[in-house]
Amino acid sequence: MSITVRVPTPLQRLTQNQAEVKANGANIKELIEDLEKNFPGIKERICDETGEIRRFMNIYVNEEDVRFLQDDTTPLKDGDEVSMIPAIAGGRQ
């Protein structure tokens, strides 16, 4: 099983500058654990202290927002594409 994960720019430092990586997991939660094994530090950028997906981090499975699926228990299958998009506040200053 192999899932393609599109990594947002701010997290690419943790993935050795790769914009796309492969990972495994039966659902989003497992996928994040698998990413953390290969790219230590990435989990705390995606999840908060309680393990929930951070509110400014949007995760899409094949372009569907996981908030409208089953959040971090959204099931994954071979060939799925997962995108992560953190929202940006900064503008001026």
Binding site: D48, F68, A87, A89
Partner: protein
Amino acid sequence: MIDRYSRQTLFTDIGEEGQRKLGNSCVVIFGCGALGTIIATSLVRAGVGKIRIIDRDFIEYHNLQRQVLFNEDDIRNQLPKAIAAERHLRKVNSSVDIEGIVADVNFTNIERFIHDAHIILDGLDNFETRYLINDVSLRHKIPWIYGGAISSIGMTMSIFPGETPCFRCLITNPPGRGTIHTCDTAGVISPAPFIIASLQSVEAMKILVRAEEINRDLIVIDVWKGTFDRTKISVNKDCPACQGKYEFLEGDYGLRATSLCGQDAVQVLNPEARTISLEGLAARLKHVGQATYNQFMLRFTVDDYEMVVFPDARAIIKNTNEESLARALYAKYIGT
């Protein structure tokens, strides 16, 4: 004068007809930093009839790296951004009605600024005010264009009330305090906001001339890497704002500032935040000022102000009695 827009009207998707529509339009720009100065410059030069620019800040030297309208004289003259922008832009195009307003936008005053707007543009630096714009846009059915840039990346999305997903469909609630970087903690290189603001400006022109090809995706760019991505965003069926619950406009969310009597300090509360990691905040602030912390509080000094932040996300801003300034400092360094 007749020749002023000739290169723009030669562009057939605008033409004479589009130019007339631009001339009869009113645009409101919230925030006049890197994004706002580019947007305002583009739209004043393009001949939009009326432009209102709202900003609460003064110009500082570290703004000049990317805020193209301002110069060293403006800093010496201690001009607020909104006023400096208005003065410079009047010299660029005297036929445009330009109004610079120095104000801290909040739920009590935002409706005053947008009553005649055909479109609202976002040049802000914080999430809180964007949720406010989102509410006011949906309530008054005025399209708005979100834009944000930090580091080398940026994103933008156009919101058409009742037609497209709104900003709360994209991010339901503001990120927790101190969890995201701002330009004050992560830095920014000018081409990132330049490109985002240019995309916002062209979307505004398209909307105003009622062009057909309007962008409805979330666009994310990275100028350092040279990437340009589009993502389809879905309407959130449970989105409070789309269902007519304007919680930010009603003042249910957002920073609350209270001047502490006789102390030359203001307390800032965030009704929505529960906790903040002082350790995480200290790590982000170490490049911008002096921060020390223990398990009970974090003390941070920047410019003439001292901020004391507590684990419940409450902060006391010392050396000021101005509530709007305290809210601004909170948004800038602790984050909203």
